[in-house]
Amino acid sequence: MSTAAVKVSTPTDCEILITRTFNAPRELVWKTLSNPELLKRWLFGPPGWTMTTCEEDQRPGGAFRWAWNGPDGAEMVMSGVYQEVVPPERVVRTERFEFGCAPQGSEQVSTMMLAEQNDKTLLTLSIIYPSKEARDGALQSGMDRGLEAGYERLEQILAEEQSK
């Protein structure tokens, strides 16, 4: 395996830190993270969801709006405003989640950085929430939607260990 699995940690009460190495040059990774047609091809959200809308105006002050459709007609929207855009290494933006039409939760600030490591690229994504409750809520929302998948994976791990 040329790439390591994604690491998720919570360095402070209000933060989620995500790191992942990709076996591709930085320019290419940047493209897949900023081109709407390319984003739609991989950023599906939780299992069973697909990205339906990806509107991007990637410049300071520019807005973005991403939407996903899930099982039983469920919809999830994330929108926000870009604060800093430095291709191909750094993006800072505000983000806000909506479910259906009603805005929900609070605004978070996400900083995405790409670092060159030989022919590979290290992605670092830091998401800062206004409170611990908001941060825990974000972690849990993934849980609610991915619960079934999580249990299936756990069963698989246990089955693998047992068959050794």
Binding site: T3, A5, V6, K7, V8, T10, I16, I18, R20, F22, N23, A24, L28, V29, K31, T32, L38, R41, W42, L43, F44, G45, P46, P47, D136, L139, Q140, G142, M143, D144, R145, G146, L147, A149, G150, Y151, R153, L154, I157, L158, E161, Q162, K164
Partner: protein, 121 residues
């Protein structure tokens, strides 16, 4: 919904980081076992297994029976469920997306090397 205690989660993740401890949990998922029974398949001494069991007990993943002779070990899956439900599920959602991104990047790398007619390394 109740949020799991982060310290409890840390203890759970530390306990799960070791392959021997995961194997012990998998064995206990099939039924209770004594330390001797657990030590058998691992080519490990009973004190070494007991050390692992202490970590698992502290994480609340294993409890010991009252039978003074045998003190059978029992799997307590609740902290495991909490950990699975929470951070791990969040992580897996990202990993699923990033694996699709890996595939997309490979595809794009192949296309761009064709276009530039470079001799592959």
């Amino acid at each position: 919904m109740q949020v799991a205690n982060p310290e409890q989660l840390n203890a759970t993740f530390i306990a799960l980081a070791d392959p021997t401890r995961r194997a012990i949990l998998a064995r206990l998922a099939a039924g209770d076992a004594s330390v001797m029974e657990l030590a058998e398949p691992f080519a490990m001494s009973q004190p070494a297994i007991s050390k692992h069991l202490k970590v698992l007990e502290r994480a609340g993943l294993v409890s010991r029976g009252r039978d003074a002779q045998r003190r059978p070990c029992r799997l307590d899956a609740k902290p495991l469920e909490e950990a699975t439900k929470w951070l791990e599920t969040y992580r897996q959602n990202w990993e699923a997306s990033f694996q699709r991104l890996d595939d997309l990047l490979e595809e794009m790398k192949a296309t761009s090397s064709k276009k530039s007619k470079r001799i592959p390394k």
